[in-house]
């Protein structure tokens, strides 16, 4: 009776193509949401929800109930997240990831010819198990919207209105009155501008001035202090009405006579103190805060031991309370000290803007550079480090993205191109999104090129994100790349520079309509000044604060103290060890003459280490290596050094402990 298709019928090929596309979309969304707990980007959560919802739909339509069921369970969880019923924690995100993995393996089984694959158990059970305690009751908010609009809100829109109030965001209504012939462009522009400035909660019908025109009304949540008039202009709005101001109360209208009282109230804001502090002083404060945190840890351990058997209960209670207080204060101090290094990102974006104008003129391109979120704060050090890679992205967008005026007109686009940069904090990261309205990049062409150049072997599956190929070192040298976009040229350098800062970059693109580069970097950057040495063919990094000095030593500079070779360092003799033999590395052949020595200490002990050579001092972002990776415990992590090489990070404490242990063993022997 049913006209539904049987699995494996003529729809299975379409199903697979569709399912794979949806899964890829979902993975892109969740990747973008990574670490963005607490206040995840609603449009990404929605896109993710929609992708899984659509997957359920197409699976259900072709009768693949096992997949539809699993998608349904994941969709339910996503609905709970977007409706605020599940806390968007990292646990929730990893449960979502797990669900997506399960779905893609099911889809993979269809691809392999299985007729009706299903998971052994309901996915819901697995998801629920990881989300114990993550559920909450959303608190309803009193409505501030006009009644007719309020009545037509969907549950989700209502939830987002409440969420905007909870986060002290402003709410505005953007009214559009558009010509029928071009309404979709006008509506799309207004929607995009609203989303860039804040969150587009919903699109509603408006009242048209003339029945032949199309009227829309956009409900938008905005960060406090957004220039709503400017937004209205960018949207081509007939009118923008503020439903509720964000953050602090709406200022009185300009026509009102300021009384002495309001003037006095305003005064502190104007005179809001700004003190210029040299970066080194801030760095010293950050270091002190770090040391204090370490001392607090040691004090806590000592205190627990000392109090364990203390007979005076009230003294014990007092001590514990005082320590808890200290703990809180010290915990707050570190981030506060780090925040002193934060500066508005405008210092960086204005530099990009100047470069944009120059580059556009040099290339004969006509384009505007539009920046949103210039007030977002970013680490001063990071802002400096980011300038080069971001300049590269801006030039790239002009050079290879935005077409020449003639080509744009021929393609039915406005003569002037546009590159929009949106800067926004996201969890502990800052995200910089560059979107151009240029010619875009053809993903198939990228994959084809990667296969042709051997970057991707024919057997290797296409990566989830083909655009990631653009950042592979081999890709940039592929000559013919420029034929379709030129995007590859030098992008590996951008990726490398960002990786060194603990950041990453992703690309999205629609051929013909534009490309988006999304750069995410940590808001504060904790770079470790490190001394990099070469030993036995390896690069090793020692924290700069543990290095006393580097010197050249001859064999007769050493002396034996209690059977252990030592080096005189000022008025003390420190044990001397060859770093290569200490770490079990091959000794350098043919050593003659003076050798490079690094004297290091950890506060208690000091030792001198013979190395092959000293490479230099760099600020490195050290990535810890998990305990499960077997190795000498003197190696704590790895860091990229300029030039793309990797240095292994040494743990000075463990290194000194080994020197002293072997010295003792030597004496005992």
């Amino acid at each position: 009776m049913s006209r539904r298709q049987a699995p494996g019928g003529p729809f299975s090929k379409e199903f697979l193509a569709e399912a794979e596309m949806l899964l890829e979309e979902a993975v892109t969304c969740i990747d973008g949401l990574d670490g963005e707990s607490d206040d995840p980007n609603p449009s990404k959560v929605n896109a993710l929800f929609r992708a899984v919802h659509s997957l359920k739909g197409v699976a259900g339509m072709v009768g693949l109930t096992g997949i539809a069921e699993a998608a349904h369970d994941l969709e339910t969880l996503l609905d709970d997240v977007r409706m605020g019923r599940v806390v968007p924690s990292s646990a929730a995100f990893s449960a979502i990831r797990g669900g997506l993995t399960a779905l893609s393996s099911l889809v993979g089984r269809v691809a392999a010819g299985e007729e009706a694959p299903s998971l052994g158990e309901r996915l819901r059970l697995r998801l629920d198990a990881t989300l114990v305690g993550a559920r909450r009751e959303p608190v309803p908010e009193a409505s501030v919207l006009p009644p007719d609009l309020d009545a037509s809100l969907s549950d989700y829109e209502r939830h987002r209105v409440g969420e905007a109030a909870r986060r002290a965001k402003g709410l505005v209504l953007v009214d559009l009155d558009l010509d029928f012939d071009s309404f979709d462009t006008g509506l799309r522009t207004a929607m995009a501008e609203s989303s860039a400035a804040g969150e587009l909660i919903g699109t509603f019908p408006g009242t048209a001035s003339d029945p032949s025109r199309m009227a829309f009304r956009l409900l938008v949540a905005l960060p406090p202090d957004t220039d709503t008039a400017a937004l209205g202009e960018r949207c081509g709005a007939r009118q923008v009405s503020v439903v509720r101001g964000g953050g602090r109360p709406v200022p009185p209208p300009a026509s009102a006579n300021p009384t002495a009282e309001t003037a006095a109230e305003a005064a502190p804001q104007v005179a809001k103190g700004v003190v210029r502090v040299p970066l080194e002083k801030v760095a010293a404060l950050v270091d002190l805060a770090g040391d204090l945190a370490l001392t607090r840890g040691a004090l806590g351990r000592a205190l627990r031991r000392a109090l364990a058997g203390a007979p005076d209960r009230s003294a014990r209670y007092e001590a514990q309370r005082a320590f808890a207080q200290l703990d809180r204060l010290v915990s707050a101090l570190g981030p506060t000290a780090l925040s002193l290094r934060l500066v508005p990102v405008e210092t960086l974006t204005s530099r990009l803007g100047r470069a944009f104008v120059r580059t556009a003129a040099a290339l004969g391109k006509e384009a505007d550079f539009v920046v949103h979120g210039v007030e977002t704060e970013i680490d001063k050090v990071l802002a400096d480090e980011l300038a080069d890679p971001l300049l590269h992205i801006v030039r790239n967008a002009l050079d290879h993205g935005v077409e020449s005026p003639d080509a744009r007109l021929a393609a039915g686009k406005p003569r002037r191109g546009r590159v929009a940069l949106t800067v926004a904090p996201r969890g502990r990261e800052v995200v910089l999104t560059f979107s151009d309205d240029g010619r875009g990049i053809d993903r198939d062409a990228i994959v084809r090129k990667a296969r042709e150049t051997g970057l991707l072997s024919s057997k290797e599956p296409e990566p989830r994100d083909p655009f990631s190929l653009l950042f592979r070192p081999g890709f940039s040298t592929a000559e013919a790349v420029t034929e379709f976009s030129g995007r590859g040229v030098g992008l590996d350098v951008v990726a490398e520079a960002l990786a060194r800062l603990g950041g990453r970059v992703r690309v999205r693109s629609t051929p013909g309509s534009g490309t988006t580069f999304e750069v995410a970097v940590p808001m504060t950057l904790v770079l470790l000044e490190s001394l990099v040495v070469r030993v036995g063919g390896l690069r090793l990094a020692l924290p700069g604060e543990n290095v006393v000095r580097t010197l050249q030593a001859r064999p007769d500079d050493t002396e034996l103290v209690g059977g252990t070779p030592c080096l005189r360092d000022g008025d003390r003799a420190v044990p001397l060890a060859r770093l290569d033999s200490l770490l079990g590395l091959a000794p350098r052949a043919g050593r003659i003459g003076p050798e490079s020595v690094v004297v290091a200490e950890d506060g208690e002990r000091a030792a001198a280490f013979v190395v092959d050579s000293v490479e230099g001092v760099w600020d490195l972002l050290v990535k810890p290596l998990a305990d499960s990776v077997p190795r000498l415990r003197e190696i704590s992590g790895a860091a990229e050094v300029p030039g793309g090489e990797v240095a292994l990070a040494l743990d000075p404490g463990a290194l000194l402990a080994r020197v002293y242990a072997s010295a003792q063993a030597g004496r005992a022997a």
């Binding site: 539904r4 659509s54 739909g57 259900g60 339509m61 009768g63 019908p205 829309f216």
Partner: protein, 141 residues
């Protein structure tokens, strides 16, 4: 609608999924054959296209997916309902069968009917009978 049996009827199908549009079209063909009706189906991939198509053709029915990017089905229904000349146009919201809540949401936005995916032929045919053949419906005779 003077001669419902012989008039060509126009149906707008809005769904961002190609296979979904194909299945809806197939279901529409089945209904048309069964009732000796002639249907002209126009497809739209998103809400913008749908808004553009709507004034061009005197549609007799709109079938729209609820979950679409940028402009959702519910937003589209709100727009349709706001235009006086389209107020009486029957609209069916199609969504993956979640629960009664989804159907209620669609009705609240102004949908006349609701179909959960996957739908079976009988449910689909019954809904179309109800919306397109008012003369045969008991309350209209």
């Amino acid at each position: 609608m003077t001669n419902p049996a012989r008039t060509r009827r126009h149906v707008l199908v809005v769904d961002d999924s190609g296979p979904a549009r194909m299945l809806i079209r197939q279901a529409l063909d089945g209904w048309a054959r069964g009732n000796g009706e002639r249907l002209e189906v126009v497809e739209a991939e998103n809400g913008f296209e749908a808004l553009r198509e709507l004034p061009r053709t005197p549609f007799d029915l709109v079938l729209t997916d609820v979950n679409m990017p940028t402009l959702s089905g519910l937003e589209l229904i709100r727009m349709i309902r706001a235009r006086p000349e389209q107020r009486g146009l029957p609209v069916v919201a199609i969504s993956t069968e979640r629960d009664a809540e989804d159907a209620a949401r669609a009705r609240a936005a102004g949908a006349d009917g609701y179909l959960g995916k996957p739908f079976d032929a009988e449910t689909f045919d019954r809904l179309l009978d109800e919306l397109l053949l008012p003369s045969r419906a008991p309350e209209a005779s």
